[in-house]
């Protein structure tokens, strides 16, 4: 039985990075490095993602059809891959955000039970 739970924990962690990527792309299509920077900056540098792990995650999202990829030109005029949120991805973002909020809320309640009684 233990294997099942382990699997879900892994999914959860993966899912978090996926959620952040989807959220970042909501502002418009951009390239890999910019996504990494955006996640770092927006979290006030709390979330230190190993930037490389971004790429397998991007591939996974493409495979699921949540984002698409296209050729584009970066700010300093270099050719780069631009990732764009698809309609399916937009829907998924809503679902994932909702899930995440529920989870965060639940964990918060466990960690600070008093907050609930209020």
């Amino acid at each position: 039985m233990s294997t099942r739970e382990e699997k879900e924990r892994v999914d959860l962690l993966q899912g978090t990075l996926d959620l952040l990527i989807l959220r970042t792309l909501l502002w418009g299509p951009t390239h890999g490095h910019a996504i990494a920077n955006a996640i770092e900056n927006r979290s006030d540098e709390v979330l230190q993602v190993e930037q490389g792990s971004l790429y397998p995650a991007l591939h996974r999202l493409i495979k699921r059809g949540w984002i698409s990829v296209e050729e584009g030109t970066s700010e300093n005029n270099r050719r780069a891959k631009f990732y764009r949120l698809t309609a399916k991805g937009r829907k998924q973002l809503a679902v994932e955000t909702n899930k995440w909020e529920k989870l965060a809320g639940a964990i918060a309640q466990i960690l600070r039970p008093r907050a609930k009684r209020k």
């Binding site: 490095h33 190993e50 930037q51 490389g52 792990s53 790429y55 996974r60 495979k63 990829v69």
Partner: protein, 883 residues
């Protein structure tokens, strides 16, 4: 991995480089030294190799990886028990190989499309007579079909004849097809050299022209593209070859020359069936519509024609040409395919039992794996992989064997099996073998997997360590499989037995001629050009009389007879309507016969044979009454006839036919009356297994014809007689070729398809029997091994070795009897399908059933006895000590 993934992964290197460069530049902007900035960027990025691997992982499927694992594991398993693996593979190779070989014959003969453009639209057209039989077309009927149909873009008639052809490199007997105008349009064939027939070529009195086959052109016309010198003498005319058809086109079968039909005008009779017909359907016209179309034309002819009677068509029918060419071979081949399918089932059953036994040995392993969390689905896949490996290797070996088997089949096949030359291991046959192997694999894999993963792992583990692994249900399944094997084997062996008895019965039939000296009869087919003029006919008579006289002088030759058609050869004799007529009733002109043909009491129907008196003696056809032809019957004297016994009985019941006169001129154009002088025995002209038909024989020396077969009874060697005869013929006329055979060859060839079926189904039956016995032996031996402890206890408690023997044999007997019961039921249903191939026995022949059942039960009991004997030698001390 899909293409999108591949593209992204290919670009990933570049993308990572860009990323790190951008990060480095940012760091430099923040004031780091270039070197330091790069290091920091790389640190932040992480392990590049792992990133790439992870990305690759996203796209690679888990399934493929596990598949590799399964295969490696399966190979290890199979290597671990080599005896099991080899036996299983060879059993499957046998089953799949034999099935593939038979399928290649079925495919080549029945299924392979004809080698013409859009062959599915080429149809054969027949008349349907008042008895429901199909016949060839009469000229005016064909013309009506041709002019009135709305279904065919082209329709043509054709007929094929053997003719002696001279003028090329050497005189030969060639199949010459007379074809009407649109014949080549039907096949969409155009000459590769020269031109095709024009409308002028078919007109009466036009210069005779012919088209040659590619093979004939190469062999006899020197492959010369200049045809101006290619003139061939056949049928008393010189034909200029005007074109050569493409390689491979030889329709009708073996045709080498094609000439325009009706060069002498059409036959106006609607009841003279002289032509076959083929047509190419218009686009989007289905067979059914063409059939209805032709049928309505035929019925219109039937209702309006003045020529009523049995020989006038009643209806018409259209069927695909391929089916019409192979129609007769179809039932026997489908039966063979069914039989070989049964053999395959028996073979698979053996392998299934082996796999089950193997799986029960691995029960503990499976239990452990499933306890450790392996999903049942995963275990099932493991079994499937093993079954696939076995089946594919077995199938591969089987196909190799089939290459060899097909050569054997083709050699063994009867000469009259159509399209035998297109039988080979072709691509569709290989696809069939692959599908068959996969189906076998899927069946075996799912079966063993479901059977051996359904148990509760705790049970197997709990039982473990006591040396009695294996569930009761697994053993029960094994017994059911063996019973099924016995049942299927019984069906096969009964089928083989019925066919074998039929062959014996056919050989016992009295064919009406002597069969004990067929090896001493040398036959010689001779054909001269066809002639109609009386003077030319007289020349023909003199030629054959001379030839026969000279042949008589060959040393060792004891007698020489001649006939228009030997028994058991080709399509038999022509048949027709004769009139019972006295001399003073004979009308002055042929037209006067028509009203007489409407008088039913005058009409008889009989086959028409042209023979010499000595022919009856040489074949041993007995004279029942009166006399046969002799030297008194001169060409100018009264024309005489000999009739067969069944005709005498049928047409002159309780009367003496001798001395009566008949008119049978429609067969050879000679209207002189025939006086019946004798009655001879019935002859099975069409085959040993077909009833004799009423026959009228006339005298070759009074009614000469162009093509005859000479039968020489000789004590000398066949080769000597043949070469002497060839010399005599060349001496008389070097332009006439001859074909030699012994009558025993003809006799044996007429049994060819029967023998083919008996040999094959007999082989399947024996192989299935051996496999089933191996199956019984395997299951019983396995059961004894498993019950060793139990037997030990029984012996320790006082059971005698007789008790043990009885116990084991009884267990086996129950399986065998269950199988036999099911087999009898199955046979009674299934042998009906072979009914059309049987002769002289019924499909439920009690003797065959009894013998086969006894044989099978005895063999199976023997297979039980050996393990049972072993069980009696179980030593209670040593088995119990294992505890």
């Amino acid at each position: 991995m899909n293409r999108r993934g591949k593209g992204l992964l290919n670009d990933l290197d570049q993308e990572i480089r860009e990323h790190i460069e951008l990060a480095t530049e940012e760091n430099i902007d923040r004031g780091m030294a270039p070197e330091e900035a790069r290091c920091a960027a790389m640190r932040k990025f992480g392990n590049v190799t792992r990133v790439k691997e992870d990305a690759r992982e996203v796209w690679s499927s888990l399934w493929a990886e596990q598949f590799g694992q399964d295969i490696r594991f399966a190979l290890r398993q199979l290597r671990k028990s080599p005896v099991f693996t080899i036996v299983a593979i060879f059993t499957l190779a046998l089953g799949i190989g034999v099935t593939t070989a038979i399928f290649s014959v079925v495919y080549g003969v029945l299924l392979r499309p004809l080698p013409y453009s859009d062959p599915g639209r080429i149809m054969a057209v027949f008349e349907v007579n008042s008895h429901g039989g199909w016949s060839r077309l009469a000229d005016p009927n064909f013309d009506d079909f041709h002019d009135q149909n709305r279904s065919f873009q082209a329709i043509a008639k054709y007929s094929a004849n053997f003719s002696s052809v001279s003028g090329a490199s050497q005189p030969t007997r060639v199949t010459v097809a007379s074809v009407s105008a649109d014949f080549f349009k039907v096949f969409r064939i155009r000459p590769i050299v020269g031109r095709e027939f024009g409308s002028a070529d078919a007109r009466k009195g036009a210069a005779p022209v012919a088209l040659a086959s590619y093979g004939y052109w190469k062999q006899h016309l020197g492959s010369s593209p200049d045809l101006s010198q290619a003139n061939l003498k056949l049928e008393n005319a010189v034909f200029s070859v005007i074109g050569v058809l493409p390689d491979g086109f030889q329709f009708p079968q073996d045709a080498d020359l094609w000439i325009p039909a009706d060069r002498d005008g059409e036959n106006p009779s609607r009841t003279s069936h002289n032509y076959d017909a083929v047509g190419r359907l218009r686009e989007r016209v289905p067979v059914e519509r063409a059939n209805a179309d032709i049928s309505s034309i035929a019925r219109r002819i039937h209702s309006t024609s003045s020529e009523q009677g049995d020989y006038l068509l009643k209806d018409g029918i259209v069927i695909p040409l391929r089916d019409s060419l192979t129609g007769k071979a179809r039932p026997a081949l489908l039966i063979l395919l069914g039989a070989v399918g049964f053999l395959l089932l028996v073979a698979c059953a053996n392998v299934a039992n082996l796999l089950l036994a193997q799986a029960s040995v691995r029960e503990r392993e499976l239990a452990i794996r499933s306890a450790l969390g392996a999903a049942r689905r995963r275990l099932i896949r493991q079994f499937l992989t093993e079954a696939f490996l076995l089946s594919l290797v077995g199938g591969g070996l089987g196909v190799l064997g089939a290459f060899w088997g097909v050569a054997g089949l083709v050699a063994l096949a009867p000469g009259n099996l159509p399209r035998l030359d297109s039988v080979s291991i072709s691509a569709p046959v290989l696809v069939f073998a692959l599908l068959l192997s996969s189906a076998v694999a899927a069946g075996l894999g799912v079966f063993t997997a479901v059977r051996s993963t359904s148990g509760d792992p705790r049970e197997a583990l709990g039982e473990g360590g006591r040396g009695q692994a294996g569930s009761q249900s697994g053993q029960r399944t094994g017994r059911v499989i063996v019973a099924a094997q016995i049942a299927i084997t019984l069906v096969l062996v009964v089928g083989a037995g019925l066919l074998g008895r039929s062959l014996i019965k056919v050989l016992q039939v009295d064919p009406g001629f002597r069969v004990d000296h067929t090896g001493q009869i040398v036959t010689m087919e001779v054909s001269r050009p066809c002639v109609e003029v009386p003077r030319a006919k007289a020349a023909q008579r003199i030629f054959f009389a001379n030839l026969i006289d000279r042949l008589r002088q060959i040393p060792g030759v004891r007698g020489v007879g001649a006939t228009s058609g030997l028994p058991l050869v080709g399509g038999g004799l022509p048949d027709g309507m004769f009139l019972m007529l006295s001399q003073n009733e004979l009308p002055k002109t042929p037209d006067g016969l028509a009203p007489l043909l409407q008088q039913k009491e005058r009409i008889g129907i009989a086959d028409f044979g042209v023979v010499t008196g000595e022919y009856f003696k040489i074949l041993g056809i007995p004279t029942i009454r009166g006399r046969i032809f002799d030297d008194h019957d001169s060409p100018s004297g009264p024309h005489v006839a000999v009739i067969s016994q069944s005709l005498a009985r049928e047409r002159w019941p309780k009367q003496d036919p001798i001395g009566r006169t008949i008119e049978f001129g429609n067969m050879d154009g000679d209207l002189r009356l025939l006086t019946i002088i004798g009655i001879v025995g019935d002859v099975r002209q069409y085959g040993l297994d077909l009833p004799p038909r009423p026959t009228v024989y006339v005298n070759l020396f009074q009614r000469p014809r162009s093509a005859i077969t000479i039968a020489m009874l000789s004590d000398a060697g066949t080769q000597l007689v043949a070469s002497a005869a060839r010399g005599i013929l060349a001496d008389l006329n070097p332009e006439i070729p001859a074909k030699f055979q012994t009558f025993s060859q003809i006799y044996s060839a007429s049994l060819g398809s029967r023998r083919f079926n008996v040999i094959l189904i007999g082989f399947f039956g024996i192989t299935a029997l051996l496999l089933a016995i191996a199956g019984v032996f395997g299951v019983m031996a396995y059961s004894v091994t498993r019950r060793t402890r139990e037997i030990g206890v029984r012996v320790a408690l006082g059971a005698s070795s007789g008790d043990v023997l009885r116990m084991i044999v009884n267990q086996g007997l129950r399986i065998i009897l269950a199988g036999v019961a099911a087999g009898i039921a199955g046979s009674l249903v299934l042998t009906r399908t072979v009914e059309s191939l049987l002769f002289g026995v019924t499909a439920s022949d009690p003797l065959t059933f009894a013998v086969v059942i006894l044989l099978l039960v005895a063999a199976a009991l023997l297979a039980c006895y050996i393990p049972a004997r072993r069980a009696t030698r179980v030593d209670p001390i040593s088995t119990l000590r294992y505890e």
